[in-house]
């Protein structure tokens, strides 16, 4: 309805016209003077406990907004995907279980030199449809071992209510990749910078890092322990530098313990009705993450 109403205003607009190894511990470099720090809104962190009892449920999704149904399978690519060098046990990109979204079948490694964005091992999978998730199996909890096991699963374009033009169906879906840390403990596992860049914004539950190298990918890290970040706005960071610890911060209502990792860039493409379009939008991070993780497993450098 929103877009259709906007489209209806197009004539008005015309009228107006007429008128991983590198991910090891790294000390934080001195912060530059540039930039102003926003006060984190989240409360003081509690000490991590082995059996932390976070609020289970769907994250990045308010209860009042229903998730659009997505019954169909992912759209098949025109050409067979090329094999990935990642050999650890991980599901194929875009392989979203039936009823959980359309997925986006893309093997493009959008950030080929990216650093694995956590200091340790972690588990990429759905925290909405997984155990303990708001749409997950009933009677389960987020700390279930199945959530902390391989294989990885792609969650880009998993069914959500937010916009994602790359998702088949109605153009809505998950805008990033959900990653559970190595254990079901908040405020323990470090998230690190994926690339050299600058911390351009710190929100109430988000940290944004923009890569200094073209095409200046924007990385967004959500749900870290905001009251104890290792960086502040304006900081220049190197790949692998600690940003903060994975938690469940989500404004006033906690989510499950996970890192929502998002990658964006300016892109050019074509719309479903054949119009060329240039916009800033979300890129599927799954393959970049998988290869970065494999490099970490291999002991390679990410810088």
């Amino acid at each position: 309805m929103r877009k259709s109403s906007l489209l209806a205003l197009a004539p008005l607009a015309l009228m107006a016209a007429l008128a991983l190894s590198a991910c090891d511990d790294k000390t934080k470099p001195p912060a530059p003077l540039a930039g102003e720090v926003k006060t984190p809104a989240s409360p003081e962190p509690s000490a991590p406990t082995p059996e932390d009892a976070p609020s289970d449920g769907g994250a990045e999704q308010t209860p009042s907004e229903p998730i659009p149904p997505a019954p169909g399978p992912p759209v098949q690519p025109d050409t067979p995907p090329s094999p990935s060098p990642a050999t650890f046990d991980h599901g194929a990109p875009g392989a979203i279980p039936a009823g959980q979204g359309h997925g986006y079948l893309d093997r493009t490694v959008w950030a080929p030199a990216m650093c694995w964005p956590l200091q340790d091992a972690a588990f990429a999978n759905s925290q909405v449809y997984g155990h303990g998730g708001g749409m997950g199996p009933g009677g389960t909890a987020q700390c279930d071992t199945v959530n902390y096991s391989l294989p990885w699963h792609d969650t880009f374009c998993e069914a959500r209510s937010r916009d994602n033009p790359l998702c088949a169906g109605g153009g809505t879906g998950h805008q990033g990749q959900d990653i559970r840390p190595g254990s079901c403990k908040k405020n323990l596992h470090w998230a690190v910078a994926a690339e050299k860049g600058v911390v351009t914004d710190i929100g109430s539950y988000s940290v944004t890092v923009v890569s200094s190298a073209a095409p200046h990918r924007t990385y967004r890290y959500l749900h870290m322990q905001m009251a104890a970040l290792a960086v502040k706005e304006g900081d220049t960071v190197v790949a692998g530098q600690k940003l903060g610890k994975v938690a469940n911060d989500f404004g006033g209502t906690p989510t499950t313990i996970h890192l929502h990792f998002e990658m964006r860039a300016g892109v050019s493409g074509v719309t479903t009705d054949g119009k060329a379009v240039v916009l800033h939008t979300f890129l599927p991070p799954y393959m970049s993450l998988a290869e970065a993780y494999q490099r970490k497993l291999n002991g390679g450098s990410c810088s």
Binding site: L14, E233, H280
Partner: protein, 235 residues
Amino acid sequence: MRLVTGLALGAILAAGALSGALSQTRDAAGRPIPGAAPTTAPTAAGAAAPTRGATPEQIAARRAAALAARQQRGGQVDWQAAVGGLRQSTGIAEKLAPNLNQAAVDATRVPILLPTDTDLTAGARIYSFGDYYTITADAPGVGISLSGTTTVVPLPAGTPLKITPMGPEGATVQRTVDGQLVSFVRYGVLYTVEVRCDAPTDPRCADDNYVMGLAAKTTAVVMGAAARAAAGLGG
């Protein structure tokens, strides 16, 4: 309200009617793609077609095609149009952001756009990589980012985007996890206006009225030394 913001957005879209092409197309690693296929160009001929009598959608398609074609040629910022915007901003822009880091402004090789709202811009911070900048500003309960870049990556052909560009600047609106994101092309530069709300239920992020209103008043042009030099205005 919707009508007002729609008209306002239409006005700014119109203001950028001379916008041209993004300067280059790069691969996922950020390397320029020589002779890359114009993934965004329906037809090259459409780019040069006259706009008289055309619908807004036709104009948008032609402009996007022109943009894509210029990408393929390695086109540049439309400095003539940008200088026009700069002249219209004389006396305004200086008052909007007196506290922006001048070194970062001077290093930015694209026209910088600012909203005509001193409450927002007074404490704004700029971070620049030359061909990309972002300005971060705050209002109570909301964070705002204003960005511009000449670098885009082509998406795989055959994967159409589920989005509707609007007006001559091809404006798009996306709802994010924590806010709203508007993109549009002006002066051959991809600009974005994003709002992020601390509270998920904040009405400024629940719909696109606020971000569109903000985009509508993002009209003031600022050029630092690098941009002025590129525009032929001297450093």
